[in-house]
């Protein structure tokens, strides 16, 4: 992997943190804009979960990962610790792939 990504992501992340904190200072954003910005994590995390589970390159597929996802959802819903959720989901998928 190239360092380009590391450098630009680091610079960009700091720029955003500073933008609100230092540059904009005590001025406020229009309500509608901050409402939309605060939805970014929900939209992108939702995409990461479903895209990561149901696509392979450019095809839509259902495979072992769907079962892993199901296990993760149940584990997260039962409020198990993060590491347990991750291990259960990964282990389920690994076992199915071995079978």
């Amino acid at each position: 992997m190239s360092w380009t990504l590391v450098i630009w992501l680091s610079a960009g992340a700091y720029a955003f943190k500073m933008l609100g904190f230092v540059v904009v200072g005590s001025r406020t954003l229009p309500d509608v804009l901050s409402r939309c910005l605060m939805l970014i994590p929900a939209a992108l995390l939702g995409a990461m979960v479903l895209n990561g589970t149901f696509t392979d390159a450019q095809s839509v597929v259902i495979d072992e990962r769907a079962v892993g996802l199901l296990v993760a959802v149940v584990a997260a819903w039962r409020k198990l610790p993060l590491i347990v959720v991750v291990v259960l989901a990964a282990a389920t998928t690994a076992l199915l792939r071995m079978a």
């Binding site: 509608v32 994590p41 939702g46 990561g52 993760a72 993060l82 990964a90 998928t93 792939r97």
Partner: protein
């Protein structure tokens, strides 16, 4: 020597430490997963030290691991980092005028420090909450990343289901955002877009396109800062 901590400070410090411990475990997962995606140990650690914003780091690495381009990875990482700008706006009034201190504090403006600071009611505790969380969390985030990255080198990601490990981590990060109606709609909308568009766009771009789901927020509704 006995360390004296005033009684009202103790709960703040305790919860900052507990939160940081949990985040440290998450960092461990990030380290393993990033190295599995093809980053070196140094690159993985540099991301945690300099980018220091978990969801952005994770999404960038997972797009790389599925064969997406650097631009797509950067795009999704930056979109996720944009919310820290909004947190900065919320925290700005709590800090003094000193530019140097603001430039330093800015690096630590993330989900957890925002939640901890805004949960306090008096200025002294707010400051303690922010800096205790910032220092403890930054230390454990970087330590966890290093350990995970070193361990991760000896693991084949596909065999051990690490790709689904990424997904599982996203689910736990997604949960707080599902408390509001808009959050649920954005998550469902973004998720659907990213699958439906997959056959028509290069790998990684459907994730960026899912960002369109944030326009659900145009419709008025009270949205709280996720905790």
């Amino acid at each position: 020597m006995k360390l004296r901590i005033e009684s009202d400070v103790r709960p703040v410090v305790t919860s900052a430490l507990a939160l940081s411990g949990a985040v440290g475990v998450f960092a461990l997962a990030f380290g393993v997963l990033a190295v599995g995606a093809g980053a070196s140990v140094w690159q993985t650690c540099a991301l945690s030290f300099f980018a220091f914003t978990g969801a952005s780091q994770m999404s960038a690495m997972s797009i790389i691991s599925t064969g997406g381009t650097v631009s797509a990875a950067l795009g999704s990482g930056l979109l996720l980092a944009a919310r820290n700008g909004v947190y900065g706006l919320a925290l700005s009034p709590y800090f003094g005028e000193s530019l140097g201190k603001r430039l330093l504090a800015a690096h630590f403006v993330i989900d957890e420090t925002t939640a901890m600071m805004t949960a306090q009611t008096n200025p002294r505790l707010q400051k303690i909450a922010f800096w205790t969380t910032a220092i403890a969390l930054f230390s454990l985030w970087n330590l966890g990343t290093l350990i995970g990255a070193v361990l991760g080198g000896s693991i084949d990601p596909h065999t051990y289901g690490l790709d689904v490990g990424f997904t599982a981590a996203y689910i736990t990060m997604l949960v707080p955002h599902l408390r509001t109606k808009n959050g649920r709609a954005a998550a469902a909308g973004g998720g659907l877009l990213s699958v439906v568009l997959a056959p028509f766009l290069p790998v990684g771009l459907p994730i960026l396109a899912s960002g369109l789901a944030i326009f659900i927020g145009v419709k008025p509704q009270r949205v709280q800062v996720p905790v």
